[in-house]
């Protein structure tokens, strides 16, 4: 399986040093279904980009193409300036359906990415334990996925992606299975994560509020065949206190604007 090189060996490419991921003219057809058509989008390094769009518009497809799990029918994706030809150590994926191993404990599931990379057991379990604690699952290390709630399973998937320490995190509706309180807590944690770690987050969501709340930029996708219809960059929100964002006039404005542009497709 072809892979891009380790990020460490990487001289900053001349064309776009501050762009972690660039998507250029990507199309994807599933047989006769045209999921994406000529989609282009940039993902600045260290920022969180939300992909927002109606169900079935191709968000998961785009994310999997960036991950190197799917081949685009046309176009090109670059990560750190290098064309993507398959999965690589610079990207980690949080799956919409969790994709946990039902026969493995939480600990082994979280450590599984490291296990596949050949990290020694003691080391990978120490790392996994740290991330299990970080997502609030301490005490469940030896539980099996079927013993966890949907939200807890989702956190296991999140911890697994975090523990491989990839530069780019591809998150497919990571908070869809949790209740509103937990969701808000996760969103705050995510903001902390974005601020703390210099990682690039690509985040799929159905929630306009969530997208505006957590993102540096929101890309709005049109229904199939999907292209980017609009990119919105909330300006002043990042510097404000997390607790007050939801009352901020700019936040409310943007939510309104996105709703207005999406509404035409719902109707």
């Amino acid at each position: 399986m072809p892979q891009t090189d380790l990020a460490g060996t990487d001289e900053a490419p001349a064309d776009a040093p501050e762009l972690a991921v660039t998507v250029r003219g990507v199309s994807k057809n599933y047989g006769s279904v045209e999921a994406l058509r000529n989609l282009s989008l940039d993902f600045p390094r260290g920022q969180l980009t939300a992909l927002l769009g109606p169900s079935g518009c191709g968000k998961t497809t785009l994310l999997k193409i960036i991950a190197g799990l799917l081949e685009p029918s046309a176009g090109e994706v670059r990560v750190n300036g290098r064309p993507v030809t398959g999965p690589g150590p610079d990207r980690a994926f949080v799956f919409q359906d969790f994709a946990l191993l039902p026969w493995a404990t939480v600990l082994r599931n979280v450590a599984f990415g490291l296990e596949l990379r050949g990290v020694a057991r003691a080391e990978r379990e120490a790392i996994a334990e740290r991330y299990i604690a970080q997502v609030g699952l301490s005490g469940f290390e030896q539980s099996y996925p079927h013993e966890l709630s949907g939200g807890m399973r989702q956190r296991v998937g999140l911890a697994r992606a975090l523990s491989v320490d990839a530069e780019v995190l591809l998150m497919d509706e990571p908070f869809s299975a949790v209740d509103e309180q937990t969701r808000r807590k996760f969103q705050e944690d995510l903001l902390g994560l974005v601020a703390r770690e210099n990682k690039t987050f690509i985040f799929v969501t159905h929630s306009i509020e969530e997208a505006v709340y957590v993102s540096d930029q929101v890309a709005i996708l049109l229904p199939r065949p999907s292209r980017v219809s609009e990119i919105i960059r909330p300006q002043g929100l990042r510097t404000k206190d997390v607790a007050n964002i939801r009352r901020d006039p700019e936040y409310l404005d943007i939510v309104d604007r996105i709703w207005n542009s999406l509404r035409s497709y719902v109707e």
């Binding site: 399986m1 799990l69 999965p87 994709a99 191993l101 599984f112 296990e115 596949l116 079927h146």
Partner: protein, 253 residues
């Protein structure tokens, strides 16, 4: 939990044996002995050692055949499940094998391989292998695509994905195929002894029927069933130790 299932097992055994005893006492046929008579014959055969000698004979083709079927059955099944080309080539053979009336093939086997161990092992394999192959192949083909995708996303190579994702995911169905295959192998071993040359347990059955010693005949049949059940339980134990997480709350506990 295990307590309740043990009690249930004992209870169902008691019902079966009770029915057997009653049926033997009516009697439904003069050739059908009571449970108690059969057990007496069983203990007599255990006491004089003839049962163990018979098992020694019967278990040889059975053990060899089951081992071959399990190993090659799983390997072939994995191959068939993983490669469309292999599937196209081999699947029909095993589907036909599973459906074919085996007894009709025995004379042919005897013609080619004689009346020795080889023919008997073949009979066991023909009985046991198809279901193991087909179950394994089906289970492998149905590995959740999202798990394989996850393996690829986290940089698993093909070998890792097969060993750490495909096989564990398929293991419950592989094991159920093994259980069915082993049961069929037991039938095959006895069938071989009845149809090819009477040896071992098959010999006891043939001989005691010819002298109308029906309790001994049923005792022999009973003993082979007990052995099969014990072996199947052992297999289940093995599955649970190998794949702990597979015990995802069965209805019985």
């Amino acid at each position: 939990m295990t307590h309740r299932s043990l009690i249930l097992k004992l209870l169902s055994a008691a019902i079966v044996f009770g029915a057997w005893e009653i049926a033997g006492r009516i009697p439904i046929s003069f050739a059908f002995p009571t449970f108690i008579d059969s057990m007496a014959a069983l203990f007599a055969m255990i006491a004089d050692g003839s049962l163990f000698a018979a098992f020694g004979e019967t278990l040889r083709p059975l053990a060899v055949g089951v081992a071959i079927s399990a190993f090659f059955g799983i390997v072939l099944g994995l191959w068939i499940g993983l490669s469309g080309w292999f599937d196209w080539l081999f699947s029909p053979i095993f589907v036909v094998m599973q459906a074919a009336p085996l007894a009709a093939l025995i004379p042919l086997l005897v013609m080619v391989y004689g009346i020795g161990l080889t023919s008997k092992v073949f009979v066991v394999c023909i009985m046991a292998m198809p279901v193991i192959v087909l179950n394994t192949a089906g289970a492998v083909r149905n590995t959740p695509a999202s798990l394989k995708e996850m393996g690829r996303a986290f940089l698993g190579n093909r070998r890792d994905i097969i060993l750490k994702i495909v096989i564990p995911a398929a293991s419950p169905i592989i094991f159920s195929g093994l259980r069915l295959g082993v049961s069929a192998g037991f039938i095959g071993a006895i069938l071989a002894e009845l149809k090819i040359t009477p040896t071992g347990v098959g010999d006891i059955i043939t001989y005691s029927r010819s002298v109308a010693d029906y309790p001994s005949m049923y005792a022999a049949i009973f003993s082979i069933i007990v052995l099969a059940v014990l072996f199947l339980n052992l297999l289940e134990r093995l599955e649970h130790t190998l794949f702990r997480g597979n015990i995802r709350g069965y209805a019985s506990d």
